[in-house]
Subunit: 327 residues, 2 copies
DNA sequence: ATATTGTGTGTAACCGGTTACACATTTTAA
DNA sequence: TTAAAATGTGTAACCGGTTACACACAATAT
């Protein structure tokens, strides 16, 4: 493997010139450029990134911190991040935080040690100050950490508003809103949207907390579907929860969407695999991931960014868990 | 940030001693050890991995190459890999190959450039020789690349045999086997198992090729469910395909499991989310990932490994797409 | 008593880049 | 015409580790 000194020798110039050529930094004459170019081709020289990192204190790695890659929302996000990262020459490091602050801290520390270029964080177990003190480029995805940190999220309030209104239009009178864990940004926002939508309306509502986990959601849904009489609509703040609710309805012999209509939130592909297909407020997950990655790379490469907080619009996807005709 | 020379000075020893201490290599007296230990603690010294990599030509990164993280089989695998890697101090780099050899080569080359410690490969677009020439620790997961490369896979033949026999027991007389892409190891093995099981039996069988993709599988299933009369069983060589088939059956008004029984293969959690729940041949996905990672790390750390090819047993999971009672 | 082996430590080169600084030459400005 | 600015290039130190080699001394073998 040729190194920069071999190239310099072959081209008959100094290593500094080769380095300048490689990084398009400082002055080099056309003549020298050509000589270096030829030498590089001849020796099939590829710069050693590790050596480079030692002085620049930066690698081409991007840390992607997710709570759990097993939750179907995140692979779709990861896919987008990976695609864009690759196209800019970056590589993504996968980190499952399990929503545990120790794991999150551990990853951030070790990766910072290894000079990662930046982080995309979809979890926020840590106090905002911890992230601010980091001095490493960082963008928040899905969940807002702090105003000072660029954030990409969906318009959750708007989405929940839209979804609720749709259920109301479809005739729901007694709606359970399965809210996500308290204190979690998007979950709280979705609840806000729901409450705004039902405010002053003649509907019965029940707010029930449920984690973003299929099995748990199913259990919780089965519980409230037996306890509360006359529930004719469920708005779950996650498709996974909605899937759990649908399963629960099926196992209780409740017909969807005739007796009970269900609305999800997320737009993961799971929704289309269920029967009936899940009506949902779809986020543009790929776009969110792609956008976050582009912004992170801009920050890393010190390119001016225009907006710090971006809301990606959501879209209502009508499938089979809601009625096609109004009653 | 303190470096090794600071520590050496603080401890009143040479950098070589500190390095020996850190790597438990060569001779050091107890006295010196203690002095170094104190200095490290006092200065809160953390060795710089990048600098280390420059000479050792190795990092703590493990490259995980998957066809597509969006396919629900792979996040479950990735999760296992990540968990085990973390516990041994390694970090995983996610690579989506999209089943494209260029992308696979690109990742392998760039990561090798960056001195990754090794690869876990769940795809094999390249000729085996390419992997052998790599001179980087590598284990194959799910798909066998070559006998010389350690491989973790499920007992696919056995599983398909088991699944088919089960369908036969449940009374299926006219079975469609949705085989995966040709030339793909596990897909071929599963077909082999199926053929072995029906060999000489009084059953009608149809082998239909289908990619491991929900939408495609659904379309293909809808097609053959209308074209072929009297199909009463489907064995899909992937849960995702089975999910597609189930959806197709539903949309055609075919009752599952009364008129049509469906068996999947993989054991991804999606199976349990569907209604009815998918009966499937479950691989121990987590175990496969964990095992592959442990073996890779052994190879990296030059610890003797006992077996080069490991088959993880599969298990029949009975859910709702097959009948509970025999007819 | 001497040769051999084992233990313990330090110096300095090396891994492969980047870059501050010095210096030379050319171009532009005053 | 001369000072200042722009352009072009090379030397050598530096990033922060690892390690070959030399050397000193103690323990053991002959």
């Amino acid at each position: 493997m040729a190194n920069i000194r071999d190239v310099a020798k072959e081209a008959g110039v100094s290593v500094a010139s080769v380095s300048r050529y490689l990084n398009s930094k400082g002055y080099i004459s056309e003549d020298t450029k050509l000589k270096i170019k030829r030498a590089i081709e001849k020796l099939e020289y590829i710069p050693n990134q590790i050596a480079r990192s030692l002085t620049t204190k930066q690698t081409n790695f991007i840390g992607l911190i997710v709570p759990d890659i097993t939750n179907p929302f995140f692979p779709e996000l990861a896919r987008a991040v990976e695609d864009i990262a690759l196209s800019y020459g970056y590589t993504v490091v996968l980190c499952n935080s399990d929503e545990k602050s120790e794991k999150e801290i551990h990853y951030i520390d070790t990766l910072k040690q290894k000079y990662v270029a930046g982080f995309i964080v979809t979890t926020n177990q840590l106090r905002a100050s911890h992230y601010e003190d980091l001095k490493v480029p960082l963008v928040a995805l899905d969940r807002m950490i702090h105003e000072s940190i660029p954030t990409i999220s969906s318009n959750n309030v708007e989405g929940a508003l839209m979804g609720t209104n749709y259920l109301l239009e479809k005739g729901c009178q007694n709606i359970v809103f399965m809210r996500g864990p308290k204190g979690l940004g998007p979950a709280d926002d979705r609840l806000t949207g729901f409450l705004q939508a039902v405010e002053g309306k003649e509907v019965q509502t029940h707010i029930i907390e449920s984690p973003f986990h299929f099995g748990e959601s199913e259990k919780i849904a089965r519980q409230f579907l037996t306890d509360i009489k006359g529930v004719d609509g469920i708005f779950a703040s996650t498709d996974v929860s909605a899937a759990g609710a649908l399963k629960a309805a099926h196992s209780l012999g409740i017909s969807v969407p005739n007796e009970l209509q269900i609305m999800g939130f997320d737009g993961i592909s799971l929704g289309g695999m269920l029967t009936p297909g899940l009506t949902t407020i779809a986020q543009d997950i790929y776009k969110m991931g792609a956008l976050a990655t582009r912004i992170l790379i801009k920050i890393i490469e010190e390119i001016e960014i225009d907006e710090r907080v971006i809301q990606v619009p959501v879209e209502l996807v009508e499938r089979g868990t809601t009625r096609s005709e109004q009653r």
